[in-house]
Symmetry: C2
Subunit: 253 residues, 2 copies
């Protein structure tokens, strides 16, 4: 889990703990003589259940990097600046830079201790969040321009179609995290980002602020995720799929 | 200083410590029999220098709220959840939510302690940063759409003209913090946000990431500020003022 792609986690495409998230190192792990699984998700994957394997789960930890850090400290391991920075990245990205609801005193204390070990928060922020291309900013502009607010202001819907990528020079790799652009809207509870990946594949990212469990919504469409961040990939034509997703979300609000 | 408008601080319009920042309570303060000044800026205003006044400055503190918090703790004062939240807001906004270069272990420890006293970081973030109007998002869309990257990618320039406000339904109160939208661009060192306030008043906000001292640039145009965040308000026609500001910034890079 410590090797999980942060991008995958942040954009909500693969929010469940699953061996599939461990690509491309999955096959390598399967061949390993013993596996140690450290996780803060409730998982059901059979990974780490063979003879000799070890599993260490702590669902109360806001990030797996937090578990690893506390473990290293308990072992008396030496934590240099490089290792501290890696752990800080894990904690900071899993908490949306200390703003998601998993940000608690335990996570903040670990972040504080890591800064004490030499982490430069400003440099880390710059390295993670200030690396966007001009094309991505054009894509954001187009997405925000077309943003719709529905359901008496409770639902924000953003749509990205192939022509948006063509017109801006952006590509699908730049859509990670984009759904957060709309969560800044006052009064909204839920946000949908609907991306047309091909003629008949449509990706939907769901976010909610406090009450709506979007993982249930995502499951209805064959996806999954967390209560506040989930996703699904639907097969079907845009004009059929999109109204259905919007209608079901509005009905759930 | 604890009463300073966070908006004024964040948008870089009035970054120097000055009595003028204390509007509308300035006149009230001037009448007070004694004044206590607590500040983390290097200040030259004569505020707090009368007989009986007290001044407590600590330029090593990332936020004035940090000084107040440490002081209250040293006094053994009881800090309830409401007070802790107010102090957290001061620390979080002055550090750009723990991402600016003033974020150090001392500030992180204070934030951690405040979370321990009952602050809900997710709720505070939502209350401060997730209250934007749809009009503001349309304004951001238009601004990003017109963003220019100059100087071999080192300078990002965003412009807001009266027609942008008219077309989006936005107003000038929504421009606070907007300059940060472009700091996410990879490779840029400096960002300018140029806002036409009227026929012959043009506001320029400057940001830099690491090396350029934008306070010097702002001073050339009658403004001021910090090395990384500064601002100026220029009198003159758009077509004369804007190229001059851009040229001088490019020359400084």
């Amino acid at each position: 889990r410590a090797f999980r792609s942060d991008r995958a986690s942040r954009d909500g495409r693969s929010p469940a703990c699953a061996a599939s998230q461990l690509e491309p190192i999955g096959p390598f792990l399967a061949q390993a003589p013993r596996t140690l699984v450290i996780d803060h998700h409730a998982t059901r994957d059979p990974i780490g259940t063979r003879e000799g394997d070890l599993r260490y789960f702590d669902e109360s930890a806001g990030a797996t990097a937090l578990i690893v850090f506390e473990w290293l400290r308990a072992c008396g391991a030496e934590i240099d600046r490089e290792l501290a920075t890696a752990l800080y990245v894990g904690i900071a990205t899993d908490s949306g830079w200390f703003r998601f609801s998993n940000t608690d005193v335990r996570m903040m204390q670990a972040a504080t201790d890591l800064v004490g070990l030499g982490v430069d928060p400003n440099a880390v922020y710059n390295a993670i969040y200030q690396q966007d291309s001009h094309a991505k900013l054009r894509l954001i502009a187009r997405m925000l321009e077309n943003l719709e607010v529905l359901g008496d202001g409770k639902l924000a819907v953003m749509q990205l179609r192939p022509e948006d990528f063509r017109a801006t020079g952006a590509d699908d790799s730049m859509t990670a995290d984009l759904i957060n652009e709309a969560t800044r809207l006052a009064g909204t509870e839920a946000t949908l980002m609907i991306t047309q990946e091909s003629d008949d594949i449509i990706r939907v990212n769901f976010r909610s602020k406090s009450s709506l469990d979007v993982s249930q919504l995502a499951r209805r469409f064959g996806g999954g995720g967390h209560a506040r961040a989930a996703g699904a990939r639907l097969h079907g034509k845009w004009d059929y799929v999109v109204p259905r997703v919007i209608d079901e979300t509005l009905a759930a609000l």
